[in-house]
């Protein structure tokens, strides 16, 4: 197996296990590149990539940009604010205009679920979804899986817990299919209002009690409470959420188990995760960020020029 089964990276749901293995294996190579004195290879010097961010981002955007530069691709950055989107230009028109300037690949973040998929049906350039609404964030899912694999050697048989707002989370949307495909067991935990109905159909179990859920897991991915995506009150208050679902040192110490803690960022410190956990040895949050560049390099390298 030396090529991906897909032309775009819209989500992890359509990927095969062999695709994920291939991306991980390639990311190993790029991780080594990133340790060298000169952290740059000329592999994509003939490729131009447009980063279209219709929604705010720090980590993902910088990570993609760095990955592209490490591969010697030409990049251009676009953000919705200060662009013709404000004048009412449609998504498809914006993208077609950019592609008319001979751009080969699109990295796109959009607040509407399905935006990347919609685009892939109308244009021929390779698309990488950098997060679409509450649907998927495939490179985040991949780097989460990669970081866990790095720590445990294998994902098979691991107990993987996702805590928090599963309903609005595109990270959960990508983590769940990835972990299941790689043979891990997945449980979600959070207030019932933030758990999608019928989540069991995905092969995922639900545990409303945080302590019980933590006792079960090897790795806990703590999600951010996304107030910007909540148009109605799903939780009474942040303080109450923190009381019931906040992960803190006291709680972890009372469980006799060395649980690995992850967070996709940005952290609301003191809400879903306390600093005494986020900055402790149990946390691999910064490794996740580091691995993000290698994973994105792998995805770009494997998709570039695939038609």
């Amino acid at each position: 197996m030396s090529a991906l089964s897909q032309k775009h990276l819209i989500g992890l749901k359509p990927l095969l296990k062999s695709d994920i293995d291939l991306i991980f294996q390639t990311a190993d190579n790029f991780k080594e590149v990133l340790q060298r004195p000169i952290k740059k290879v000329p592999s994509l010097r003939d490729i131009t990539i447009a980063n279209l961010f219709f929604e705010d981002s720090t980590r993902t955007r910088i990570s993609f940009e760095l990955a592209e530069k490490r591969l010697s691709a030409d990049t251009l950055n676009f953000s919705a604010s200060g662009s013709s989107v404000k004048k009412g230009e449609t998504l498809l028109d914006t993208v077609r205009n950019i592609l008319a300037m001979k751009v080969d690949m699109i990295v796109m973040r959009h607040s509407s679920s399905g935006a990347a998929n919609f685009l892939s049906q109308h244009i021929s350039a390779n698309i990488i979804n950098a997060g679409d609404g509450t649907h998927e964030h495939p490179t985040q899912g991949l780097l989460d899986g990669y970081s866990v694999r790095e720590k445990f050697g294998n994902l098979k048989g691991l107990n993987y817990l996702i805590i928090g707002d599963i309903k609005h989370s595109r990270v959960a949307g990508s983590d769940i299919p990835l972990m299941l495909k790689m043979g891990a067991k997945v449980k979600v935990c959070g207030p019932p209002t933030l758990i999608p109905k019928h989540i069991e159909e995905l092969g995922v179990s639900y545990e409303p009690n945080l302590r019980k859920a933590l006792e079960w897991c090897d790795v806990a991915n703590v999600l951010r409470i996304q107030l910007e995506r909540m148009d109605i009150k799903f939780i009474p208050s942040l303080r109450e959420y923190s009381l019931f679902y906040g992960v803190n040192r006291e709680l972890l110490d009372s469980i006799n188990k060395d649980i690995t803690i992850m967070h996709p960022g940005p952290i609301n410190r003191g809400v879903e995760l306390n600093s005494d956990v986020a900055d402790s040895k149990q946390s691999i949050i910064l490794q996740q960020v580091e691995n993000g560049v290698a994973i994105r390099m792998a995805a770009l390298y494997l998709l570039a020029g695939r038609n």
């Binding site: 030396s2 290879v41 000329p42 020029g305």
Partner: protein, 181 residues
């Protein structure tokens, strides 16, 4: 055409020994020199050379690395499928060292061009020399020559030189076969 053997096991091992002695003439006790094999096939030869040098010099500490050139190739955009990389394994600093780059066959010179770029990403060696087992001198695309050559072969483009090793192919042998691609 009939495949023909140009180096059998005995000749190949004699050639490797001769190459090692040539290296020692130049590099003495390898105090400031290192061997780097080009992935994937150059590494088999580099393994042998490294081992033989260790035996002759009675020295086990000659620095030895493996270089993957995949991301530096000049034909990545011409490929239907992405090319997967091999492992890079260079555990020592190249700064100020004399590097001996080892590959099995020198043909168009493009691999070595890529290898030079890849090496320079690790640091700035004092100098880089090239050692190859087989030099197909008539097919060069770039102005690249090896300093140490096992055997020169005047072959045509439709022929292919196959270097086989006991470890992976069952026997040490170099042949010329018809290139079917």
């Amino acid at each position: 055409m009939q495949p023909r053997v140009i180096l059998d096991s005995k000749k190949l091992n004699l050639t490797i020994t001769r190459l090692c002695h040539q290296l020692i003439e130049q590099h003495k006790d390898f105090a400031n020199s290192a061997i780097i094999g080009v992935q994937p096939r150059g590494v088999f030869l580099a393994d042998r050379i490294h081992k033989k040098l260790g035996e002759i010099l009675k020295k086990k500490t000659i620095p030895y690395g493996k270089l993957d050139i995949t991301f530096y190739r000049d034909d990545l955009h011409l490929q239907e499928k992405p090319i997967l990389a091999d492992k890079m394994d260079i555990e020592f600093t190249l700064e100020g060292k004399n590097i001996i780059l080892v590959d099995d066959v020198l043909y168009t010179g493009r691999t070595i061009r890529a290898a030079l770029d890849a090496i320079l990403a690790y640091g700035r060696p004092d100098d880089v020399e090239l050692l190859v087992l087989i030099d197909r001198r008539l097919q060069r695309h770039l102005p690249i020559q090896a300093k140490y050559v096992g055997k020169i072969i005047d072959s045509i483009t439709s022929e292919k030189v196959k270097v086989e090793w006991k470890e992976t192919d069952g026997d040490d042998k170099v042949w010329i076969v018809e290139d079917k691609d």
